[in-house]
């Protein structure tokens, strides 16, 4: 062991410990002086405040910890919706920017330049208050397909009421497992005998047939509960029954997707342009069809360029979802670092939990994306 190698590292470690020690000691002394107690015991206390929108059962008689879960799930919900839509829009716009059609190309360019150069908070406000101005009151709304109601108080959609939902879920799990086996079998068959199996149509068939069988023989039954209009007062109405998506969720997801999609579009464009022209020409010259050129030659190479910066955009989107507090969407920051912090006054505890939560969310996303990146990376043989 070389002392010259270890000493700088030891000194760095010591400095880090001293800095953290100083801050925690300082916080401790200051809190003691001001009569503030420290502890996480409050998490089990009754929260005594309600939340507008929750994926799990919750009201004020539950604990602060439950309120934390409500906020966390809402954050995850809006992030997942945002990531899905941002990816779809981003890929479409990114490819549109490569189009030879002048109109498509320029429209995509204008979209990207416009949306990525306006601060996100402004866009969130814009979509929220634009939505509130544009959407009709519950009594004035025209139903879509007779069962969907888009109103200022939210998007009311029919809910499924299930019998034996578990059997239905098992049938889907069974379908997914059999698809995995079919794929393994098809790959082996191609490697050994050179015969291609139509994997896609078999997969779709399995995914349809097994759940249908569960309906026919498994006693699974679903009925639809349609929202009905309900009068609250002479001029006030709402809808009862079904599922309600609050306008806050819709406008936040919209703003996040449209904003992040611009960055993803640029990643996609860079990725596709990064594959050299010779690759495509070589692929065509050995007789691959244009579809195969895209699927087997261009995309695998483009993805290697696209994935790392796109991971950053997914992380940004998740963190940006904390702007929800501005428009009353009950995410982690609004519910936990907002209301719960105010009601308990436990700033250090709650902020530390919130920071750790966002850190874990971000790390989970980046672990997943790194795994995916490794999977598609060049495998040197």
């Amino acid at each position: 062991m070389n002392i010259k190698k270890i000493l700088p590292q030891l000194l760095t470690l010591l400095a880090v410990i001293l800095i953290f020690g100083f801050f925690s000691y300082n916080a401790q002394v200051n809190m003691e002086n001001r009569g503030i107690t420290f502890g996480y015991g409050f998490l089990s206390q009754e929260s005594s405040f309600d939340v507008q929108f929750s994926l799990i059962e919750y009201d004020g008689s539950h604990s602060y910890f439950r309120a934390y879960l409500v906020g966390l799930l809402n954050t995850i919900l809006v992030s997942v919706i945002g990531i899905i839509f941002a990816t779809i829009i981003g890929v479409v716009v990114g490819i549109a920017r490569l189009s030879n059609n002048y109109l498509i190309n320029k429209t995509a360019a204008v979209y990207v330049e416009f949306f990525r150069n306006i601060p996100l908070l402004l866009q969130i406000f814009f979509w929220y208050f634009a939505a509130l101005r544009a959407l009709p009151l519950p009594q004035d709304t025209e139903p879509m397909f007779g069962v969907f109601f888009l109103t200022i108080k939210g998007f009311f959609v029919p809910a499924f009421v299930w019998n034996n939902l578990d059997i239905f879920i098992y049938s889907i799990i069974a379908a997914v497992i059999s698809i995995i086996f079919v794929r393994i079998y098809a790959k082996k068959k191609q490697e050994n005998e050179g015969i291609q199996t139509p994997v896609l149509s078999i997969s779709i068939g399995l995914l349809l047939i097994l759940p249908i069988l569960s309906f026919l023989f498994g006693g699974v039954d679903a009925s639809v509960e349609v929202p009905v209009i309900k009068q609250l007062s002479q001029s006030g109405f709402t809808y009862d029954g079904g599922i309600k998506l609050p306008p806050e969720l819709i406008s936040l997801a919209l703003a996040l997707s449209l904003y992040t999609a611009t960055f993803i579009a640029e990643c996609v464009r860079a990725g596709v342009q990064g594959v050299s022209k010779g690759q495509k020409e070589a692929a065509a010259s050995i007789g691959l069809t244009p579809n195969q050129v895209l699927k087997l030659v261009v995309m695998p190479q483009a993805l290697r360029i696209i994935i790392p910066p796109t991971t950053n955009q997914y992380l940004n989107l998740t963190k940006n979802s904390s702007l929800a507090a501005a428009i009353a969407y009950p995410d982690l920051v609004l519910v936990f670092a907002g209301t719960a912090l105010m009601q308990t006054g436990r700033a250090i505890e709650i902020v530390s939990i919130t920071m750790l939560t966002y850190l874990s969310l971000s790390i989970s996303i980046s672990i997943f994306m790194n795994w995916y990146n490794k999977k598609i990376a060049i495998k040197e043989k």
Binding site: G21, P247, A326, I327, A328, T339, Q343, A347
Partner: protein
């Protein structure tokens, strides 16, 4: 390694405690906050982000309101000039942290005095400068005339992080009504969302409803329901642990209220020095040594009355004349049927 760290920190702590102990005993007579304020030359005051009548900045950046006047009174008492105040606009969420982390020295921001806030989080409430209660605003054409007319599914807009959120739950639960709380961080967004029709009712302190109503697109289409569902005594707050500063803020507020009780106004304060009533003479510093007990000179209260005015003047200037709440209701002196009653200054 960690074992030594522990010993090291306890050594540092001991030295620090010894050091503060010796300096603290010398400074005990004089408040640390008072000393800092005099050194800086201005009072650091936390206010709202804009609540007409309580704390609101005009286009030129001049703050007015009854909450603002409490800070101005302290500045007049401590520094001799009511304008030597630095105002920091704070959201409901930030306000207590700003005070406990030493960013401000007085929080005068329509803040409700509750047990948990007073005892638990390092704060001390010094008094009440406005007696308020939570109410509901609804659209006139809804036909709702009482809180008993609310039905299951009603959506209510309000600010997050306030006692309002808790009262709302208690109220709707006691009535057995299912409701949808829509909570925003800033009051302007609450007003905008209610105005657009997102919510059936807007709930907050009644003074707040009256003040925010003028921001709606057509204020006359909305009414405040008669019921009050909670007690909201609003008052200034200071950090726990500086009792001299606490006394200064408390008695600056009390002086304004007592001045109204004895009819001392900004206009006649000087002439009151020769009053026959000893209580009035004490109030304007012509008798007794009341200022010394607070570490101030004897004209501190006279300056408050002359520069800021008594409570009645402040109320009239900020709340009554602006049309927010012309009727003083409970915020009238106890001698005139209200509940404003302060201990005597003697």
């Amino acid at each position: 390694m960690f074992k030594y760290l522990k010993q090291l920190t306890s050594l540092v702590a001991m030295v620090a405690v010894l050091f503060t102990f010796t300096t603290e005993t010398m400074a005990a007579k004089k408040s640390k906050t008072l000393k800092n304020t005099q050194k800086k030359g201005f009072v650091r005051c936390g206010v709202s982000q804009g609540l007409p009548g309580f704390s609101n900045a005009d286009a030129a950046g001049n703050w007015t309101g009854v909450d603002v006047d409490v800070c101005r009174a302290v500045a007049a008492a401590v520094l001799g000039d009511a304008n030597k105040v630095k105002f920091t606009p704070l959201s409901a969420k930030e306000r207590f942290t700003a005070l406990t982390s030493n960013e401000i020295d007085i929080l005068s921001r329509n803040t409700t005095w509750t047990l948990s806030r007073d005892a638990d989080i390092g704060l001390t409430f010094v008094g009440v400068n406005f007696y308020d209660g939570q109410g509901f605003m609804v659209r006139k054409n809804s036909g709702i005339s009482s809180v008993n007319d609310f039905k299951d599914g009603v959506s209510a807009c309000t600010n997050l992080g306030t006692t309002t959120e808790l009262n709302m739950r208690d109220f709707f639960n006691s009535k057995g009504i299912k409701y949808e709380p829509v909570t925003f961080e800033k009051a302007d967004e609450v007003v905008a969302a209610y105005d657009a029709g997102r919510c059936d009712t807007y709930t907050t302190d009644k003074s707040g409803l009256a003040a925010q109503r003028i921001k709606l697109s057509s204020p006359d289409d909305h009414i405040v329901l008669p019921e009050t569902i909670s007690k909201e005594p609003l008052g200034p707050v200071v950090r726990q642990g500086d009792s001299v500063w606490e006394d200064i803020v408390r008695w600056s507020l009390n002086t304004m209220i007592e001045a109204e009780e004895y009819g001392v106004t900004s206009a006649n304060a000087d002439s009151m020095k020769t009053s026959d009533n000893p209580a009035v003479k004490r109030l304007v510093g012509a008798e007794g040594e009341l200022g010394a007990a607070l570490g101030l000179d004897n004209d501190w209260s006279l300056r408050i009355i002359k520069q800021v005015g008594n409570y009645g003047e402040s109320y009239k200037r900020n709340i009554a004349d602006t049309g927010i709440l012309p009727d003083r209701g409970p915020n009238e002196l106890w001698t005139k049927g209200g509940i404003l009653y302060v201990p005597p200054a003697r």
